[in-house]
């Protein structure tokens, strides 16, 4: 079921491009945001040529291997890819629904809301070190981390599972036959 939906969507190259762009932007954001101050100072420097800036930008992505455990690196990449797939599927679904003139405005708004929520969600994820750290300090429950069996990696796994669920739901909707229900 999922394979047929994905085949239908990715038969059109634009959805492949959308998936790649969203996944790459997501992974870049997740990897580079901790060093955004450094990156901004380098990028905005008037004395450095753009070739050097680009080389530094690319080399910073190496933190995936040094700043993450293998487990964390795996689910971070998975999350980025799944988000890219989700955005493509959602886009395909909305476009098709409009073409068939069978989507009500509520569904369109929900779809757009889902996309915006996804972006906001990733935004929160990327600045998690600020928001969550502050929240946990405020609540005084930072110690809770030491009692989690995977020291918090559970959140990442949950993220993969939820995005997987969203992908499944979208595939199911895309596969909905255009027939009258019994």
């Amino acid at each position: 079921m999922m394979l047929s939906a994905l085949t239908r969507v990715y038969r059109q190259p634009r959805y492949v491009i959308v998936t790649l762009v969203v996944a790459l932007v997501t992974i870049s954001t997740l990897l580079l945001l901790p060093n955004q101050a450094l990156l901004v100072s380098v990028i905005t420097s008037p004395t450095i040529d753009w070739g050097t800036k680009l080389a530094f930008f690319i080399s910073l992505h190496g933190v995936l291997l040094t700043n993450f455990t293998w487990f964390a690196a795996t689910y971070t990449v998975l999350l980025a890819i799944l988000l890219g797939v989700n955005v493509s599927l959602l886009w395909f679904y909305i476009v098709r629904s409009r073409r068939l003139a069978r989507v009500d405005s509520r569904l369109t708004l929900t779809g757009i809301g889902g996309f915006v929520s996804g972006i906001l969600g990733i935004g929160c994820a990327a600045c998690g070190t600020v928001i969550l750290a502050g929240a946990f300090k405020l609540l005084g429950i930072a110690w809770l981390l030491t009692y989690l069996p995977w020291q918090g990696a559970e959140f990442g796994v949950l993220g993969v599972l939820l995005l997987g669920l969203t992908t499944y739901t979208l595939c199911k909707r895309i596969n909905d036959p255009v027939t009258c229900p019994v």
Binding site: V42, T69, G121, E154, F155, L158, L170
Partner: protein, 253 residues
């Protein structure tokens, strides 16, 4: 005889659309939002930060034994080490490093600040690979004495980094044009990786001074502060080489 179904203009929307409720529609955005929060939690707690277990009593004993063994390898007897630790001097030195790390904006480990020839500073958050550090050094050299503003984030105050003194543990030439001040936690696996990166950087660059300061994250690594204090003792008793020998060996495991 007319068997063609007749539909009002509004009917196709209702009849053709799959059966769904507002709750089903909300499933997708709600899942994405929850996934986003989960990603943030995961990255904060494991990916972008440090990870370590909670050592029990056995781990505490092992750490003490290991510290004594490594100190002995560096030329410090267990008795001398214990006397130094009991004096409390190393405790104050480690705390001074921690205070400075926090003052400069350090929120996790490894936290480093690169100081360029003109005194300009560049914050490094986390374990950068050797290639990225080398690339940054190229930029620092190219900028020379041109002042830049690295404080793009209000939480970062790299100018507050305590001046390098004779009391600091350093590798490289003290007159080097570029200084990298690292605030590190000996039990943080990412600090261990950064330590390896820095060794490669030091081997390839002779214009860099590497300053090692302590930043034990007590909540995550309860033994790190003790090890840092022991390292201070080893250094104060036997000098720079002994300190680095101890730290290198501890990171190797």
């Amino acid at each position: 005889m007319n068997e063609q179904p007749t539909q009002t203009p509004a009917q196709p929307v209702i009849a053709l659309a799959p059966e769904q409720s507002i709750w089903k529609d909300l499933l997708i955005p709600a899942s994405i939002v929850i996934a986003g929060i989960a990603i943030g939690g995961g990255l904060y707690f494991s990916g972008g930060g440090s990870s370590a277990g909670t050592p029990g009593l056995a781990a505490v004993e092992t750490t003490v034994e290991r510290v004594e063994r490594l100190a002995k390898d560096a030329g410090v007897s267990t008795r001398a080490l214990n006397t130094c630790l009991e004096s409390g001097d190393s405790k104050a030195l480690v705390q001074a490093d921690v205070d400075n790390a926090v003052e400069t904006g350090g929120r996790g480990t490894p936290w480093s600040i690169v100081i360029g020839p003109g005194g300009q500073t560049y914050p490094i958050n986390g374990a950068l690979p050797a290639a990225a550090i080398s690339q940054l050094l190229e930029i620092v050299r190219a900028e020379g004495e041109v002042p830049v503003d690295p404080n793009a984030s209000p939480d970062i105050n790299t100018d507050a980094v305590a001046p390098v003194t004779d009391g600091d543990w350093v590798r490289g030439d003290r007159n080097a044009t570029i200084t990298i001040v690292e605030y590190s936690d000996v039990d943080c696996p990412f600090c261990s990786r950064f330590h390896d990166s820095m060794k490669q950087v030091m081997a390839a660059n002779d214009d860099v001074l590497w300053v090692y300061r302590h930043f034990p994250l007590d909540q995550l690594h309860p033994q790190a502060r003790f090890v840092a204090e022991a390292a201070e003792c080893v250094g104060s008793l036997e000098g720079q080489d002994a300190f680095w020998s101890f730290i290198d060996a501890y990171f190797v495991g």
